[in-house]
Symmetry: C2
Subunit: 115 residues, 2 copies
């Protein structure tokens, strides 16, 4: 899924797109979250994906990563200023999704991707 360098929307999607990113950002919210904590909060994500996306988001300046020099390891993730700007987007998407769910209880078709 290559990105059009000139389009703001696809630039944004290169960060918030994908199956897990919004979920991860949402679960961190305004807290500091440890790796294992996130794993527990998103039980359906695989470890590989969690690691990979945390790394991607950190590299993109969306997350802060603070590693303590302890054994066993302890690492805390939190949103950067940039990352916090994604929270209102999630709110809006969530509101839209909520509406959809209400209406679909009144019997509407859903998209092919979910089947």
């Amino acid at each position: 899924m290559l990105k059009d360098e000139t389009c703001p929307v696809s630039t944004a999607l290169s960060i918030i797109g994908g199956k897990w990113r919004l979920q991860i950002i949402f679960q961190i919210g305004n807290e500091k979250r440890r790796f294992g904590e996130l794993k527990r909060r998103i039980p359906t994500i695989s470890e590989k994906m969690l690691i990979q996306e945390l790394k991607n988001l950190t590299g993109a300046g969306i997350l802060n990563r603070k590693a303590y020099n302890e054994i066993p390891p302890k690492v805390e993730y939190s949103l950067t200023e940039e990352g916090q700007k994604i929270l209102p987007i999630i709110d809006q998407i969530k509101a839209f999704g909520t509406e959809l769910m209400e209406k679909s209880n009144a019997g509407k078709a859903n998209l092919g991707t979910s089947e």
Copy 2:
């Protein structure tokens, strides 16, 4: 990419997710757009994808499809009320992307998905 039936965000993403959906919705905006018009406005989309996503979005109640009984065929697509609610989401994503682009000119890393 199966969807969690109970999560509003993933419900929303099952509609606005994917490479082309937001783009298509954005290009329709508040207008009536013919199939060929959309093809021209999104030159990088393949015909197959455009057809497929128009069908999906129509089936999901996001688009109206009006076919005129003419030869050669003429079909117009427009956003339903439901679909219009996606426009402000796009605006917000776009604003976020614009910010990112400005900052990245000051030299920041981008995510793995774009490489």
